[in-house]
């Protein structure tokens, strides 16, 4: 028995076969060489240590492996500790693109602060990285997580592009642009009418603009994201345990929603409704663009009084009325919310 043979056997036993061992060994050695050395080891012990294929440790091999394993497991770290760099060694597994494109720069920056910092890199995709992590062979894996994560592994999202961005995006987009999009859709020769005519569902264009229908569609679209965001926050605040309790007690999914989730998110629904109401009643751009100069709402009337008719006193009176309505609705809703909060 010499220690080099034992080391080779340690790698073979740990990685489950000669071929995987060669792949995982920290120094270059060819497979026939490993096979030869292992054969020498078995010869000196006078017994076989493992079945080749499929790989399985035999009792003698198991005994030997258990004895040498703690030694070889720790030898690297002991060596480091003696060299004085043990505190700053990190073993990372990541896909190649991360290793090549992102890590070098990060590594360079960390090195600046910790000159003794050492990094071991493993190229691995998700499943392999998870296995390495659980086997304790790496400290960190950078990988794409599908919905579920492995147990006993802590994970932190580095980058996520949530679906909510698709709700925020139209909200951040220029109001004029969005209204313009609806003109293109709803006009007499717009997309909706063209489509319906081509499908043979109607023969003459429907009147979708310059009336309540057009305004309703356009304004619903424009203020929908506000409602979505309010409701996301409201539903997130409903304690999960309460829903789970209802489900445990035998409620169907729909019943859990109507009996638990909906009442508990009512304040959020009210707040969202008030917000959308106030925004809609104050809207100028969309009603003007989709309603044209003839179909009027309060805000467009105020605009006309000031800019076209130059009747500022009337416009001011209308402005006052609009403000009073908006503030009145907000005041009422805040009273209502407070009463609810008092009841709870």
């Amino acid at each position: 028995m010499n220690i080099h043979h034992l080391e080779l056997f340690y790698y073979v036993a740990r990685h489950g076969g000669i071929v995987p061992a060669v792949r995982n060994m920290p120094y270059g050695i060819q497979q026939p060489a490993v096979s030869g050395q292992i054969a020498r080891l078995e010869e000196s012990l006078g017994t076989k240590l493992f079945n080749r294929r499929p790989f399985a440790l035999l009792p003698a091999g198991k005994e030997l492996f258990e004895f040498i394993r703690p030694f070889f497991d720790k030898i690297d770290r002991v060596g480091e500790a003696i060299r004085g760099g043990s505190a700053h060694h990190l073993r990372v597994a990541a896909p190649a693109i991360v290793l090549y494109d992102y890590l070098p720069e990060i590594f360079r920056r960390v090195r600046k602060h910790f000159p003794s910092f050492r990094l071991s890199l493993h190229e691995a995709a998700r499943i392999e990285a998870e296995r390495l992590l659980q086997a304790g062979e790496i400290d960190i894996a950078i990988t794409v997580l599908e919905r579920k994560k492995a147990t006993a592994v802590r994970s932190r999202a580095l980058l996520e592009l949530p679906l909510i961005l698709l709700v925020i995006f139209p909200m951040m987009l220029n109001l004029v642009v969005r209204s313009f999009g609806w003109i293109a859709l709803l006009a007499n020769r717009g997309l909706v009418n063209n489509l319906l005519i081509q499908l043979g569902l109607i023969s003459t264009p429907m009147k979708l603009m310059f009336n309540l229908t057009g305004l309703m569609i356009g304004l619903t679209h424009i203020y929908l994201p506000f409602m979505v965001l309010m409701l996301v926050a409201a539903i997130r605040n409903v304690p999960r345990d309460v829903e789970a309790a209802a489900a445990t007690l035998g409620s169907s999914r729909l019943h859990v929603f109507t009996a638990v989730t909906l009442p508990l998110s009512a304040p959020g629904i009210l707040a969202g409704s008030i917000l959308v109401f106030v925004l809609t009643i104050s809207a100028l751009v969309t009603p003007r663009m989709l309603g044209g100069p003839t179909y009027k709402v309060m805000a467009t009337l105020i605009y006309d009084e000031f800019m076209q008719l130059l009747d500022w006193p009337s416009g001011s009176a209308l402005s006052f009325a609009l403000t009073a309505m908006a503030i009145g609705v907000i005041w009422l809703s805040s009273r209502l919310t407070r009463r609810w909060a008092g009841m709870a």
């Binding site: 698709l166 109001l175 642009v177 313009f180 500022w312 403000t323 908006a326």
Partner: protein, 267 residues
């Protein structure tokens, strides 16, 4: 959330479908505008006939559009910077309760979020007429500060609320003066919130028609005001082209903000 309930939480088919339908509905006008910008026809058609970049060329060489874009960007940048300075200072003072009547002041600062924008527009119009600021660039810039400052104050107050005052006090104990402690400790800590707030402010200014349209001088215009009034004149695909440019710019800014500050957490 425990992992045991995870599988039960997964939404069913109906919920997923509805959510996707809503998300698609929200993108429809955006897609339509982008498609319309590439049409070779001189009127607006969807789906577009042919494929041309001519309308983009027209927009980017048209002095009216260029002047409007420049004006919009200038107003948005100017009002965001001014609002940041004023709003962060105000929020900090309110947070440290340096002033009596903090709550009343907060309400006043937030009022432009609740008041109808048209009303702010006409109110400022009358005020500016009396003071002679009407049609001046300074007046317009200040009007944009009024409508953008609530976003900064709101995000700064929210960020400050999550702050441990002890770190700032620690900085003071270690010899920093008040301003240094704020600049080196507090400011970096509230920075992500401020990035999001500043983005909101910038986009609000860039977006605004109801205030701007009442206050803008005779031969000036901003991009949204230009689009708004050109729609009444009749539209050609150059409106779609300039809208497409705005859509792309907004998308890029949003993605950057998401990566830099995790923007969606602040909405």
């Amino acid at each position: 959330m425990s992992s045991a309930t995870d599988s039960d939480d997964r939404p069913g088919f109906a919920v997923t479908t509805t959510a996707l339908a809503v998300i698609v509905f929200l993108q429809i006008p955006v897609i339509v505008v982008v498609l319309a910008a590439f049409s070779t026809t001189s009127y607006l058609t969807i789906p577009p006939r042919g494929l041309t970049l001519a309308w983009f060329g027209k927009v980017l060489t048209d002095p009216t559009y260029l002047a409007a874009i420049r004006m919009s960007l200038m107003l948005a940048c100017g009002s965001t910077v001014i609002s940041l300075v004023l709003g962060v200072a105000a929020a900090y003072a309110l947070f440290r309760k340096a002033l009596p009547g903090s709550e009343a002041i907060t309400s006043v600062l937030m009022a432009p979020l609740i008041l109808p924008a048209v009303v702010i527009g006409v109110a400022l119009l009358q005020y500016y007429s009396l003071t002679g600021l009407r049609g001046s660039l300074f007046g317009l810039l200040m009007a944009h500060v009024v409508i953008t400052v609530p976003y900064i104050v709101r995000s700064a107050l929210a960020s400050l609320a999550g702050l441990d005052l002890a770190v700032e006090e620690a900085a003071r104990v270690l010899g920093a003066n008040g301003f240094e402690a704020f600049r080196l400790v507090t400011l970096p800590l509230i920075q992500p919130g401020l990035v999001a707030g500043a983005l909101f402010a910038f986009i609000t200014s860039l977006d605004n028609v109801p205030v701007t349209i009442f206050l803008i001088g005779a031969n000036q215009t901003t991009l949204p005001v230009l689009i708004f009034s050109s729609v009444e004149m009749g539209i050609d695909p150059s409106v779609a082209a300039v809208s497409t440019l705005l859509i792309v710019a907004t998308g890029i800014i949003l993605l950057i903000a998401e990566r830099v500050a995790g923007f969606h957490r602040f909405v």
